[in-house]
């Protein structure tokens, strides 16, 4: 063996086992970043507690019809015989009405509370899915293709981020309603349904831009890496490079952004409903109940506190869980 021409096969021949070291079950071996993050998350006590609270609300939302059947009440029966002439309920917590009844209408609080978890969660999750999908595609295209595509998408991102979200959300509601013939001509059910979709649209419309900007930045550095160059060199089509080569490397920012978006959307949905531009009767929603309950909070505090506790617990658990997920993917951010 002369100097200058190292024989790379020597070591392997001498020690064939070293090429593929024998693994015992106990020795740690290659884990994907998502796997590592998930393992960290499982050991995080706060994350586990928050995840179970979120799971509780998800189960409540899924089994809302079952739960209200168990109680023997529904969301739209008016128990006017239990309301006095001033609109105050004459009964508190009873075996029939687990959380009492609403002032003025006499509808069952428990049934409306469990059903109220539904729009919050459905709107937040759908808006997150739509917003994340748009954000990822836009970010991938802008970062990978560059040139005028990048310039247009970057400008769109700047544009969306500089719009006042709350005001636009408020402005969109009457416009969409007047498209469908104005709120005076709509039945309450139609109006409630329209509001439902308007909310998802508004949240997704304002939600994609932040993620798109992050993805674009990541792709800008990833596209110069060898594996992408290699894929391009052997003639892999662009869409396959985007979704098969780049996307798996973007799992961390996508999961983090989605997990922080969900609590923000729950907050936004309930907030808009509280202002009267979100969900409307007859759809039960926590935000709208809070708005009504502020007129009755002295005589009937339970009516106010039920949705308040619901939203606070759900948003708090989701937000802390999102924070824990971010820490799990990027331990440097840990306090």
């Amino acid at each position: 063996m002369s100097i200058g021409s190292p024989d790379s096969t020597v070591g392997v021949e001498d020690h064939p086992a070293s090429a593929e070291p024998a693994r015992t079950a106990a020795t740690p071996h290659g884990k994907s970043p998502s796997r590592i993050a998930f393992d960290r998350l499982r050991k995080d006590r706060v994350a586990v507690i928050c995840a179970s609270i979120v799971l509780f609300f998800v189960l409540v939302a899924i089994f809302a019809p079952l739960l209200s059947k168990l109680e023997g009440q529904d969301i739209s029966t008016f128990n006017t015989q239990q309301i006095d002439e001033f609109g105050y309920p004459t009964i508190g917590i009873t075996a029939d009405h687990w959380f009492g009844i609403e002032p003025k209408t006499g509808r069952d609080n428990f049934a409306r509370w469990v059903y109220g978890a539904r729009p919050s969660l459905i709107i937040a999750f759908l808006a997150t899915v739509v917003g994340t999908a748009i954000g990822v595609v836009m970010g991938l295209l802008a970062g990978f293709l560059g040139g005028w595509v990048d310039r247009i998408i970057s400008w769109l991102i700047d544009f969306v981020l500089s719009l006042p979200f709350l005001l636009f959300a408020i402005a969109l509601v009457p416009i969409v309603e007047s498209l469908r013939g104005g709120s005076f001509n709509l039945s309450p059910e139609d109006q409630a349904n329209i509001r439902f979709y308007v909310l998802i649209f508004v949240l997704a419309f304002f939600g994609w831009a932040g993620l798109a900007r992050i993805i674009r930045g990541e792709v800008l550095s990833l596209r110069e890496r060898e594996f992408v160059l290699a894929a391009k060199a052997i003639g892999v089509p662009t869409w396959q490079v985007l979704f098969k080569e780049l996307l798996p490397n973007l799992v961390a920012p996508i999961v983090i952004s989605a997990s922080l978006a969900v609590p923000a959307y729950v907050t936004a949905e309930a907030g808009l409903s509280f202002l009267g531009v979100g969900l409307v009767e007859p759809k039960p929603s926590w935000g709208q109940t809070i708005a009504v309950a502020t007129n009755w909070y002295k005589a009937d505090p339970l009516y106010l506190w039920l949705p308040v506790i619901g939203i606070t617990a759900l948003v708090l658990a989701l937000a802390l869980l999102g924070d824990a997920i971010r820490d799990a993917f990027d331990p440097k951010t840990r306090r």
């Binding site: 400008w155 700047d158 544009f159 500089s162 719009l163 006042p164 979200f165 709350l166 005001l167 636009f168 408020i170 402005a171 969109l172 509601v173 009457p174 416009i175 007047s178 498209l179 013939g181 104005g182 709120s183 005076f184 001509n185 609590p263 907050t267 309930a270 907030g271 509280f274 202002l275 009267g276 531009v277 809070i290 502020t294 909070y297 002295k298 106010l304 308040v308 939203i311 606070t312 948003v315 708090l316 937000a319 802390l320 924070d323 306090r335």
Partner: protein, 330 residues
């Protein structure tokens, strides 16, 4: 530098123009009949309907209507209602047929409320947030620091309107520890003006200072580990001088950036505060207009808020490029 400013200005103006077109499109092209929407469907007479159609030139092409609106912003225009012609002066953002007043006038009458709210909030949030953040940074890792950071995380995770609502209901009405929110012009009675805004200021300031505390803590922790801080300490400067004179100066730069954008955003985001504390500001104006379908007012407010945000964005970018020259190259 000049090139950078010019480029940023062009992009800021393009965003403003796009916002103008987008809002116009939303309000005047999307609804099938803007005149009917503006007129309202409960007590709209045929005469009034025609009057609005004529005033807004709704029978002419959309491009001309848009040109009218845009020219109105710079030159003003006239509106005729019930036979009386009213002039809508230069920054004319349309005419509220519900209130029989130009939109600009309505916004102008509500603006001082929102501005006072935001200014008081700005002072509070900066002083509390930066103070708490730099205290935590100095005692990094201590029990107090960790307790503080955990509590700010928890507080900022609870929706703002829940906190504000609970304070408004329980601390100003049920247990009147704090004064109730109300609006008195400062020229009329300054003491009442302060008292009426005190609770909203405190709630806004304390709730939002959590994020400022976290930002300023983060940037102070970084700054305090710089070499020049060690040099300052080695020279024998007192702890107070090192922290507040040397470290705070450069530690504040990222905080100021966020501050600019936050203030612009909170002009539009004051809606919850105004609704809960019953202050007649811009947010209330929008909500009132929503209830009676007063589309020109909503459109005008959206435009004003967008322009303020874009302007603040622009100023922050320019300010940042002055502090950190590397920004200009990107």
């Amino acid at each position: 530098m000049l090139y950078f400013v010019a480029r940023r200005l062009v992009s800021a103006l393009s965003v403003v123009l796009a916002t103008l077109i987008a809002t116009f499109a939303l309000f005047f092209i999307a609804p099938t009949d803007p005149a009917a929407a503006i007129c309202g469907e409960r007590n709209c007479t045929q005469q009034r309907y025609e009057e609005i159609t004529k005033n807004l030139n709704l029978d002419r092409p959309k491009v001309e209507q848009f040109a009218d609106y845009t020219i109105g912003i710079f030159a003003g225009r006239d509106f005729t209602t019930s036979g009386v012609t009213q002039h809508c002066a230069a920054p004319c953002l349309g005419f509220s047929f519900k209130n029989d007043r130009p939109v600009t006038e309505l916004i102008g009458s509500r603006f001082p409320v929102t501005l006072s709210l935001v200014l008081g909030y700005a002072v509070l949030v900066l002083t509390i947030g930066v103070f708490v953040g730099s205290m935590a940074a100095k005692r990094r890792g201590s029990l107090g620091d960790r307790a503080l950071m955990t509590s700010t995380l928890v507080v900022s995770s609870v929706p703002y309107y829940i906190v504000a609502l609970m304070v408004a209901l329980y601390l100003t009405i049920v247990y009147p520890i704090l004064p109730r929110g109300e609006w008195t012009p400062p020229s009329e009675n300054f003491g009442k003006f302060i008292a009426g805004l005190l609770t909203p200021w405190l709630v806004l300031g304390i709730y939002n200072c959590t994020s400022y505390a976290r930002y300023s803590r983060g940037s102070m922790v970084e700054t305090l580990s710089e070499d020049y801080i060690r040099t300052a300490r080695a020279k024998g400067l007192s702890d107070r001088v090192v922290t507040y004179k040397h470290a705070l100066r450069s530690g504040l730069i990222p905080v100021v950036t966020i501050f600019g954008l936050d203030i612009a955003g909170s002009l539009g985001g004051a809606i919850f505060t105004e609704r809960i504390f019953d202050l007649p500001g811009l947010g209330q104006l929008v909500l009132d207009s929503l209830n009676n379908y007063d589309l020109p007012v909503i459109m005008g407010t959206v435009l004003v808020a967008s322009v303020i945000i874009v302007a603040m964005n622009f100023l922050v970018d320019i300010g940042y490029s002055l502090i950190d020259p590397r920004v200009r190259l990107s």
